[in-house]
Subunit: 477 residues, 2 copies
């Protein structure tokens, strides 16, 4: 314990300076370095959690049928090592209750503080099971909601730490792991009736030969995006039509509209959007869980003439059988869901039941990179394209790595695949996404994408940051 | 605001004295009083949350395949009114992370503090939707995990408050509501493809004529219980055999054993238990989610000769299709689940998919009494018996009210229905359950069952209560 404190103090001077040089650390998983001794003196020294909230409700950005006034927020994690390195992660929430997520991150911290850094980063599969498997904390889910998202935030911060130390963007780090290293990251518990470890290995092995070529194409051409910016429910018709037309001229081949609050409005807005973008641009629509099963089927009938490409979250995210029933009735409109699908077991069933045409994984809803690898493998097994959910705070920055890894090393395809793009809050991130001609440019900077500028983290800190002080609503209690 | 504070101060003297006299308040729903003016001067003045933990891991009470060392805990709620009344509720957890649940309760408090008491208690359906529907807090579930359990704890405290003011046990309060009042309590969102409001009304109307007779029989005979006390994994063979034999001589017709950690142990323990109880006593077994789907089917084969009555939680609680697959393979062993089933949408699917023979609702996993009424109605629609999960902290005290209400006013039957019973921690409650000849005696005291003795709440308060001070493990952070 004394030794650990000594390390912490002696390294204090560069504690906040991330190490991007790579190679200084002997990391067990890094191929040539495998024979070198593992550094067991460097420990995970702290897991700091911050409540950061952006007052997006003031302009109705992000307004939809279920979320009329979100304040996009991050339960933000910084994992620190005694060697002075940092990894950054976050769980996305929409305002109130972000402090609960922060409390959950703090509860998980005890599971990893004190671990040797090199060992932990070389066995993130084991760390993942440690974070989701604590027998007492698990009760709070299990594997769902606040505690599961917290596990994801911490684990993603560890991935960010590893990527920074290897001086690679996360997508490239993952795409350079061997098939065996990748399946070692996955928890196959509850999965093997749909996907065995061997089947996963086979999928990854089959796509391995094309990795290098696809990575080159990705860097050259980027990854297709679609934009939700025009379609928020709170926007006027004029703003909708203008932003839809702008999206097309910016090169997007797909836009998305929020629906589900009022059918007359939806028909009018859908017509406006179709007129604005023309017949060849895809229009996805998103009900954000507003409907019952039968109601979804009825509501979509008058919208069909405008040829929506997919209907997203038509009903409860928990309703696997409901999605399957809707899908049978509304074809050729595709059914999409996933941003609230809380773990791999639910995704497994959505696929087994033939409930979805499009799988929308999210960077911070499930238990981080590892569970998302499981979900990508499930989707590949069932041949369902993954079109990640993004927007919010940092979701674009984070989830692009998963889609790009999927292209390079798992599905091997960009066909009918798009990453959601929403144009706000990027300026707060140290590696903001870059969109060019309707496509995500592959990030080349090190890390997993979630790092906020320290200035933003402080200014939007809740409730004491400059953006909030004096504005927090009074609560009677 | 000033007026509200005046009320609070003037009533301060009797703030902690629960009012059990009834009749003092004009409550809109109370039949004859419906014409009287509603008291709008009495407000919900506070929602206090407490972290209470019992160190059960010291004796391995409650040990099972997934929970080797639980410290049974309660995120405990006291709702207070400006008139000096109190309502008590709790969410059950198993130790670490109980503070997260407490934080969630505090976040929900702002939704009900300041409401007029009479209006809130007369419209607990509306309050329920308020607690689960807040557009920002909802994101943390939605309707699952920490935030949903917190909504249940707060709502159950309001039910306790109402029952105390009406001077009735909760089961009787519910059983005296009209069918229309009962369906008004239910949120049918996401349910109507399996159960419409009209169908629910029909079920309740059909069983209404027999209510009085059944209430009498319930009071006379009690409600069947089964005991889990013999079967914890951490117990020795001798202790298992002794407690199993004792259970039979105490009048229980069913016991339960934990399984799933080691097959050889399970076979041996199951044989011992069968020898101890004889051929006519039912032995349920409980794997606490330990298995994958195929593994469950394999594991149960060598246990079948001992005729287990049901297999509980064979796999992930989220795996509706997995439970259905297991059920098809292991009959005549029945499949039971529910203590971790996080909301009515999941129960709906378990029933739609034919995944369960036995539905095990829990008093604190879902959003309280209201959602459990929805679940009882779903079970009645599908003809599946409800055998509640209990044990933990106060779960027996709380859930008995739901089973008894089910008997009197919903299913109208006790056939193949049993409430779990575990013999620990009852002494901490002001209305501990009474078991006589293997049956729960119907409680007649007012309230919903969750009220802890103030002494216990303080002594087991975490981390500063006398039972914990000095014992809390040091955490590096």
């Amino acid at each position: 314990m004394q030794a650990y404190k000594d390390i912490l103090c002696s390294r204090g001077a560069d504690r906040y300076r991330p190490n991007h040089q790579g190679g200084r650390h002997n990391v067990r998983h890094s191929g040539a370095a495998a024979e070198s001794p593992v550094d067991v003196t460097e420990l995970i020294s702290a897991v700091d959690a911050f409540d950061v909230r952006f007052p997006t409700s003031r302009d109705l950005d992000g307004s939809d049928a279920m979320n009329p006034e979100p304040d996009y927020s991050a339960a933000y994690v910084v994992v620190r090592t005694s060697g002075g390195d940092e990894g950054h992660g976050l769980a996305f929430t929409v305002g109130r209750g972000n402090e609960i997520e922060v409390a959950a991150i703090r509860a998980l911290a005890a599971l990893i503080v004190g671990l040797p850094v090199a060992e932990a980063l070389a066995d993130l599969g084991g760390v993942s099971r440690r974070l989701t498997g604590d027998s007492q904390l698990r009760w709070l889910g299990p594997e769902k909601g606040v505690i599961h998202m917290a596990a994801g935030a911490v684990l993603n911060a560890l991935w960010d730490l590893r990527a920074r130390r290897e001086d690679k963007p996360l997508w490239r780090l993952l795409a350079e792991l061997t098939p065996t290293e990748l399946v070692d990251l996955v928890d196959f518990r509850y999965l093997d009736d749909a996907l065995t470890r061997q089947e996963a290995l086979d999928i990854l092995t089959a796509s391995a030969p094309g990795r290098a070529g696809r990575a080159e194409r990705l860097v050259a051409d980027g990854y297709p995006a679609y934009t939700t910016t025009p379609g928020w429910l709170g926007y006027t018709d004029d703003k909708l039509a203008r932003l839809a037309a702008e999206a097309v001229s910016d090169g997007f081949a797909q836009i998305k509209l929020k629906v589900g609050a009022d059918l007359t409005d939806d028909v009018r807005r859908m017509r406006l959007a179709r007129e604005a973008v023309g017949p060849d641009v895809r229009i996805a629509i998103d009900a954000n869980q507003a409907w019952n099963v039968g109601q979804a089927i009825e509501w979509l009938r008058p919208l069909a003439e405008f040829e929506p490409y997919w209907i997203e979250e038509p009903t409860s995210p928990d309703d696997v059988l409901g999605h399957a029933a809707i899908r049978r009735q509304v074809a050729p409109i595709k059914v999409a869901t996933g941003e609230h699908t809380h773990n791999r077991v639910m995704f497994k069933q959505l696929l087994q039941a033939g409930a979805i045409d499009i799988l929308q994984l999210d960077a911070t809803r499930v238990a981080g990179v590892n569970e998302n690898i499981a979900i990508l493998l499930l989707a590949a097994k069932f041949g369902v394209p993954v079109c990640p959910h993004a927007g919010g705070v940092g979701l674009c920055e984070m989830v692009q790595h998963l889609a790009m890894f999927d292209y390079v090393a798992v599905s091997g395809s960009m066909d009918d695949r798009v990453i959601e793009y929403v144009d706000h809050l990027h300026e707060h991130f140290t590696e903001p996404v870059v969109i060019r001609s309707g496509r995500y440019v592959a990030p080349e900077g090190p890390g997993a994408g979630a790092m906020l500028h320290p200035r933003s983290r402080i200014e939007y800190g809740y409730p004491d940051g400059a953006q909030w002080a004096g504005r927090v609503p009074e609560v009677i209690s």
